[in-house]
Symmetry: C2
Subunit: 318 residues, 2 copies
């Protein structure tokens, strides 16, 4: 590569939030917690564990407080350095997350006004006003701007770079600490990703950027590669490739954590994840939640035992 890749990145495991919220049948809290426990066992230390949203809109997330309590107990018991994040779309969600003992939220807002309305029934102005109140009310709360439809919207199509920069600025000036650029419907291409990252970096040089890529058109890993080449060190991925968006018709799953870990490790980029243990969590997801996993590695299972790289020993001629 022309640009050296980072030595290490953080993967934020979003299966418990973005993955589970798209499963229509109720997943018992116990199963959710088993999966989260296995993912922690695999070495993941950053999670979107749940979502504090209206249980009418997304019944699957009705146990947000219970899930949070469990994870916080596990953190205390094992003395883990684990970043437990909950999604919140408004003041009410942030208040509930804070009450549940969490200190970090993903504040969701769509780059597309049309999708913001469809997804969380708010105008940009309403979303930004709530953000103001949240930061003022809970000054210790780490608020990540989780920006949906940054690379394209299911309702209006293209989103301009200027639109994204405008919304980041509005968020940052209200106290958001960092931003996740989310390709909610999985249509970003690598050049687009490069251009957007470069534009955000140029305008907000010290802002930490994460990428959240869905794999609808198979470009998720290519887009993350472009992020890596630009020094992005946080990626939001979902075990088993679960995910979508309840209010973005046709969106496919997230980049699978295991596919991402596989690519990163083979390139010598550390994640802290034990891939074999992670695949045991994926196995559990396949057994109990979603038999049709969307990632590649979990379906292939072949060749994961081989070290093709970077040792690069093996057969030679002569």
């Amino acid at each position: 590569m022309k640009v050296p890749l980072p030595d290490r990145v953080t993967l934020t495991e979003i299966c418990p939030r973005d993955g589970f919220q798209n499963i229509k049948t109720w997943i018992p809290s116990e199963t959710k917690l088993q999966v989260i426990d296995r993912l922690i066992d695999a070495g993941l230390r950053s999670f979107e564990i749940t979502s504090f949203v209206s249980p009418k809109a997304i019944p699957q997330m009705a146990d947000a407080a219970d899930v949070s309590a469990h994870v916080l107990k596990r953190i205390a018991r094992d003395n883990l350095e684990l970043d437990a994040v909950a999604l919140a779309p408004n003041l009410r969600g942030a208040t509930a997350a804070h009450a549940a003992g969490l200190s970090h939220i993903s504040y969701v807002i769509s780059a597309s006004a049309a999708h913001n309305k469809a997804n969380i029934n708010r105008t940009h102005e309403e979303s930004l006003a709530d953000l103001d109140t949240i930061v003022k009310t809970y000054p210790g709360l780490h608020v990540t701007l989780s920006m949906s439809t940054v690379f394209g919207c299911p309702f209006v199509g293209a989103i301009t770079v200027e639109q994204v920069l405008w919304l980041i600025e509005e968020g940052v000036k209200r106290g958001a600490r960092d931003v996740a650029l989310c390709d909610t419907i999985g249509v970003a291409n690598p050049l687009q990703t490069a251009v957007l990252i470069d534009a955000v970096r140029a305008t907000f040089p010290t802002l930490e950027i994460a990428l959240h890529m869905h794999d609808t058109h198979g470009m998720a890993l290519a887009n993350m590669l472009v992020g890596l080449q630009r020094g992005v060190t946080r990626f939001e991925t979902a075990a088993g490739g679960l995910g979508g968006c309840p209010f973005a018709p046709g969106a496919a799953g997230n980049a699978a954590t295991e596919d991402t870990v596989n690519m990163l490790h083979r390139m010598g980029v550390a994640t802290g994840v034990d891939l074999a243990r992670h695949l045991r969590a994926v196995e559990l997801i396949g057994e109990k939640i979603q038999p049709n996993l969307m990632g590649h590695l979990a379906n292939a299972r072949s060749y994961s035992e081989f070290d093709f790289w970077p040792k690069n020993k093996g057969e030679s001629h002569g």
Copy 2:
């Protein structure tokens, strides 16, 4: 991107060879030809149309001469500039391809000696000796070195860069004109792809390189992106993502032509392919040959109507 991407690339459509050869039940020649015709209609102008191999080893390719005759007739009828290539693993295959009227073969040889033996039952020395004879016997024949297991072997694991360079040198000095670097089992990572391309370029600065990536671990598009960033302008892809290797257990399909076209067009790289028409060929493959297509776009179908990029008009704030 730091490196400008090429304006235009050639996609060699390998579904009729690499795709079909992995379908266990006989595909009637008429169906094969219908698919090829639709792929030509979509604008593809470079094809691996068939394989001249032992019908005992790969019964699916028994109609190689018929398929070749049809394609040559279509080329003549429509006065097409179309590169019709057949795979040949030995002198016998090259002779048959030549007799069928073809002027271009993919001469298959594995970087791994173990896979060369399993795949075509030859040592490297035997393969190279036949190459010598082929080039001397058919001096007008364009011979592309189609090098399997370049990024990893199902039997021995890693393949060294030196091994690949050695085999390219042996091939080129015997008259091979260009080389396709094939990730037969789909395990290459982007850094590995970059390192290998750079090494080949450094040693053979004028040699034309093509990439042939399988998508077992989901990295095919990321690997092709790295090739694009290095100026590679030919990629071998298969409609519907069909493919594998009959003698490489567990290998998954090729990068789907439609996924590749989608990524390239969205980045402004021309292919000459009409994506909508191409999807009609994929539809036919799904109906008549393989209901479980492996590519992303054909399964998603969503959002292909939107122009997310590069026009990048659309919603803006205010």
